[in-house]
Amino acid sequence: MSDSVETAAVAAPVPGAPFTGQTGTVVRSTVGQRLFKNPLGLVAMAILLAISLLAILAPVLAPFQENYSNIAKTLAAPDSVNILGTDSAGRDVWSRLLFGAQLTLLSALLCAGVAIAIGLPAGLIAGYYAGKFEAVSNWAVSILMSLPGLIVLLTIRAAFGPSVWMSMIAFGILISPSYFRLTRTAVQSVRNELYVDAARVSGLSDLSIIARHIFSVVRAPIIIQTAAIAGVAIAIQSGLEFLGLGDPTKATWGVMLSEGFKNVYLNPTLLFWPAFAMALTIGGLVLLGNAIRDALEDGEKIKHRKKAALSTTAAPAAARTVPAAGGKSVAAVDAGTEHHLLKVANLGVGYPQADGSVKKVVDDVSFHVDRGEILGIVGESGSGKSQTAFSILGLLPDNARIVAGSVQFDGNYTVAPGEERVDQARLSKLRGKRISYIPQEPMSNLDPAFTIGHQLVTPMVRVLGISKEEARKRALKLLADVGIVNPELTFGAYPHEVSGGMAQRVLIAGAISCEPDLVIADEPTTALDVTVQADVLDLLRELQQRLNIGVVLVTHNFGVVADLCDRVAVMQNGRLVEEGSVRDILRNPTEQYTRTLLASMLEGKTPMSMLVSSQKEPVA
C-alpha cells in the first residue's frame, strides 16, 4: 500500500541491536509486503480484483443484455447458452450477475466517495482548528448517527423516486461521520506533536502542514474504513432493491435475490448466486480491512521493538563492557543454604514470538531480600526491572513465560525450578497478605468507579477476614498513618476527586493494609511532582522501619536509591550487572555501566531533582 515509504523507513533493520538475537529474527517489512504475506489479505485482494475485472468487462463477457428476456425459456436449468440458467422472465442469470456487479461496485464507490468528500475535510477542519466548527459538526454528527440507514433511504426513495445514485449519495452523507471522527481524532493527536509545531514555527502554511503530516497519519485508517463502508453500502443498497424499491430497469444483486425469493419454491438456485456474490464481495472487503489493520499493527509492534532496542543501546560505551555471562560481580546465591525473605535465583523471563523464538526480557537474575531491608533495583527503561518485580508478584502478562530459575518466598517456592509459569495457586495465598505492591502511576491504579474507602476495605475483608466495620476503622487509621489530613473525607472520595500525590498515599496505605512482609514498589515516585516525591519517600522509609518489612524498590533513579536503599542491584538489558551495598556501589562501582549511570546522575545535583531523569540522554 501507499504507506510503504514511511513504514519502510521506520522498520529498517537496526544495526547492532544488542539483544541476544531475538529481535534480529523478526522479519521486517513494509505494510504492503506484510499484506502480501498475509494469506487472508492475498485472498481478499484476489477476490476483489476478480470481481472488479468481471464488473469492468461485463459488457464484453456477458452473453446477453441485462434485461434481454427469452419468454420461451423461463426458470431454465444451466445449459451451454445460459451457463447459470435463467430467471422467471427468461433472463440470463450470469449476464445479470455481471451487470449487477458493475452497479454494485459503482454504488459502493460513490457512497464511499461522498462520505470521504464530506467527512475528511470536515474532520480536518474540526481537528485542526477546533472551536465553533467542531462544536457544530459534532452536533450534526450526533444527529446523523442517530438515524437508521434504511429508514433514511426509504425517506429518500419516497422523496426522489427510485435511483441507485440518489440513495448512495444520501447514504454517503449519512455515513460520513465515521470518516469525520476518524480524521478529527487523528488530527487532534498529531496537531500538538512536536514535529507539527516545528513545521508551524518554520513558517509552513496550515495547508501544507495538513498535506504533509496529517494525511500520512490518516491514510491507512481511511483505507480500512473505506473497506468497511463499501461493504455496508452494498448490503444496504441490496436491501433496498430486495424490497422492490430500487430502479426496476437495472439488474442488481438485490433485485435478483428478490426475484429468486419469489420463485423459491420453483428454483431455489436463483437465490444462491446473488447471495453468494454479495457475501463474496462484502467478505473480501471485510478481510481486506482486517488484513490491512493486522499489517499496521505488526508494524507498530516492530516500531516498539525497535524503540526498546534503541534504548538499550543508549549507553554504547558501557554496553560493550557488559560481561557475557553473569560475571563475578553478580552476587552468587547458594541455593537452600540461607533463609531469606525473598530469594530470586537465576530468573529468566521471556515472551514467545510469532516466529517461534522466545524474546528474553529478564536473563539470569539472582538476588535476595531480608526482612527490614530495602533492595533497590536500578536500570533504564527496558532493562527488565519491572518484569522482575512482576515475576515476584506473579502478575506477569498472560503470554509471559518463566524460561529459567526460581523464586522463593519465605523458604517456599513461588516459581519452582523448571516451571514455565508462576504458580498462581501458591501466590494467590500470599498476594495482598504477605507480598504487596505499590504501583507507579497512582491515578490509573485505582478503579474510578469505586470510592477510595471501598478499595481499601475490600482487600482487608477478603484477606484478613475481618468485618467491614473493623476494616473501615483500620482504613481510616491507615489513611491517617500515610499522612492524609482528613481521612474521613478521603475515605468517601472517588479517585478523580483526589490529587496524584494523595492517590499514591492511598495506594501505599493499601499496600501495607494487610501487614505484608514484603512490599514491591515499582517506581513509586516517578509519576509525582518533585516536592511530593520527597514526602512519599520519607513515608516509605518511616513505614518500612516501623513495620520491619522487606522492600524491593524498582527505580531508574540513583537519587532514590541513595536516599532509601540498603542494597542495590543494577540491571541492564535484562541482566544483573552489579549488586552490593549502596555505600559500596555509590563510592566504588566496579562496572563501567554503573559508573556511567552514576556519572550522569550525581554531578553536583541534589538527589531526586527532576533533572535527574532528563539528564539521562547526554550519556547516549
Binding site: 444527529i143 438515524l147 426509504l154 426513495r157 419516497a158 422523496a159 423459491v264 431455489p268 507480598i435 470510592t451
Partner: protein, 313 residues
C-alpha cells in the same frame, strides 16, 4: 444526576424537532406533483387543483410544517393519502408487532453477545478464535440475506418452521412463539457475531488496565475482579455497542418483516415509500426517531449512573 437527565432529554427533543423539520422539507420540496400522483393521469387540472387544496398543498411549505407540528403534538399525524387511515392508528397497530421482535432479538443479543464476548476475552483460546472468525462471517452476510437463507433452508426445504409468521398471539402462545422464532433469529445473527467481538475488545481493554493488576496484588480473587470491576467498567462500551445495534435493527427489521410477511412497520413503510404516501412516511420517520432518542437516553442514564463523575455532580 437530574440535571444531567434533563439536559439529555432536552437535546433529544431538539434532535426530534430538527429531524422532523428536515424530513418534512426534504419530502415535500422534492416530490413532484403529489395530487397528480394520487389521482392518476386521467384527472383534470381542476381535479388536481382541488385535491391540492384539500391536502393543503397550496399553502406555503413553512406554514404546512408548523400545522403538521401542531397536529403531531396533539397526537394527530395526519392520514394516509391512499387509504385515508389515520397514520397514528396504523402506527399503533403495527408498532407492537415490530417492537416485540426488536426487543426479543435485542435481549437475546445482549445476553449471548455479552456471554460469548466475556468468555472470549477472559479465556482466549479457541472461543476467542471462533468469535473472531464469526465476526468476519457475520459482517460478510447482510442480515436480510441470512433471513432469506433461513426461510429457504429451515422453513421451505426442511419444513421445520412456518415460512410466514402472520399467526397472531390469539392463536395460542406456542404457535405464536414458534412462528416468531425464525424472524427473531434472522434479526439477531449479525448482532451476536458483531456484538460478541466488540464486547470482547471492550473487556480485554479493561482487563489490561493498571488497576486490575493492583487489585490482583491486593489479594482480590479473579471472579470478583471480573464481575465487580472489569464488567462494570466495560459496561458503557458494551451498552453503546448494543444501542447502535438496536438503531440499525430498526432498519433491518423492515426487510425481515417483508420476508416473513409480518404485519409490522416494515410493510407499512415499504408500501408508503413506493407510493410516496408522505404522511405515512413522516409517521414512520417520527416513530423511528422517538425510539432512537428513548434508547439513547436510557443508555446515557445507565452510563451516567455507572460513572461516578456524573453521578456525584
Amino acid at each position: 444526576m437530574i440535571r444531567f437527565i434533563a439536559k439529555r432529554l432536552g437535546s433529544g427533543l431538539v434532535v426530534l424537532f430538527v429531524v422532523s423539520a428536515l424530513t418534512f422539507f426534504l419530502l415535500y420540496i422534492s416530490s413532484g406533483s403529489i395530487a397528480r400522483n394520487i389521482l392518476g393521469d386521467q384527472a383534470t387540472a381542476e381535479q388536481v387543483a382541488m385535491k391540492e387544496h384539500e391536502l393543503g398543498l397550496d399553502q406555503p411549505l413553512v406554514l404546512r410544517y408548523f400545522a403538521w407540528l401542531a397536529d403531531a403534538l396533539s397526537g394527530n399525524l395526519g392520514a394516509s393519502w391512499f387509504t385515508s387511515e389515520p397514520v397514528a392508528n396504523s402506527l399503533a397497530t403495527r408498532i407492537p408487532v415490530t417492537m416485540t421482535m426488536v426487543f426479543a432479538a435485542m435481549i437475546l443479543i445482549a445476553f449471548c453477545a455479552a456471554l460469548i464476548g466475556v468468555i472470549a476475552a477472559v479465556r482466549r483460546g479457541w472461543v476467542d478464535r471462533v468469535v473472531q472468525v464469526g465476526a468476519i462471517i457475520g459482517d460478510s452476510i447482510p442480515g436480510f440475506v441470512i433471513g432469506v437463507i433461513l426461510v429457504t433452508v429451515l422453513a421451505i426445504q426442511l419444513g421445520l418452521f412456518p415460512a410466514t409468521s402472520t399467526i397472531s398471539p390469539e392463536s395460542g402462545p406456542d404457535a405464536w412463539l414458534y412462528s416468531m422464532s425464525l424472524p427473531v433469529i434472522a434479526l439477531l445473527v449479525n448482532g451476536v457475531t458483531g456484538g460478541a467481538q466488540q464486547i470482547r475488545s471492550a473487556v480485554i481493554k479493561q482487563l489490561e488496565r493498571d488497576y486490575v493488576r493492583t487489585l490482583r496484588s491486593r489479594g482480590i480473587g479473579e471472579r470478583e475482579i471480573l464481575f465487580k470491576h472489569v464488567l462494570r467498567s466495560a459496561a458503557p462500551a458494551g451498552l453503546t455497542v448494543l444501542s447502535l445495534q438496536l438503531i440499525g435493527m430498526l432498519g433491518g427489521v423492515v426487510i425481515i418483516e417483508q420476508i416473513f410477511a409480518l404485519p409490522g412497520m416494515g410493510p407499512l413503510a415499504v408500501a408508503a415509500t413506493g407510493q410516496s404516501d408522505l404522511p405515512v412516511v413522516m409517521g414512520v420517520v417520527m416513530y423511528t426517531v422517538v425510539v432512537v432518542i428513548v434508547v439513547n437516553l436510557l443508555v446515557d442514564i445507565i452510563n451516567g449512573w455507572l460513572n461516578p463523575k456524573v453521578r456525584v455532580s
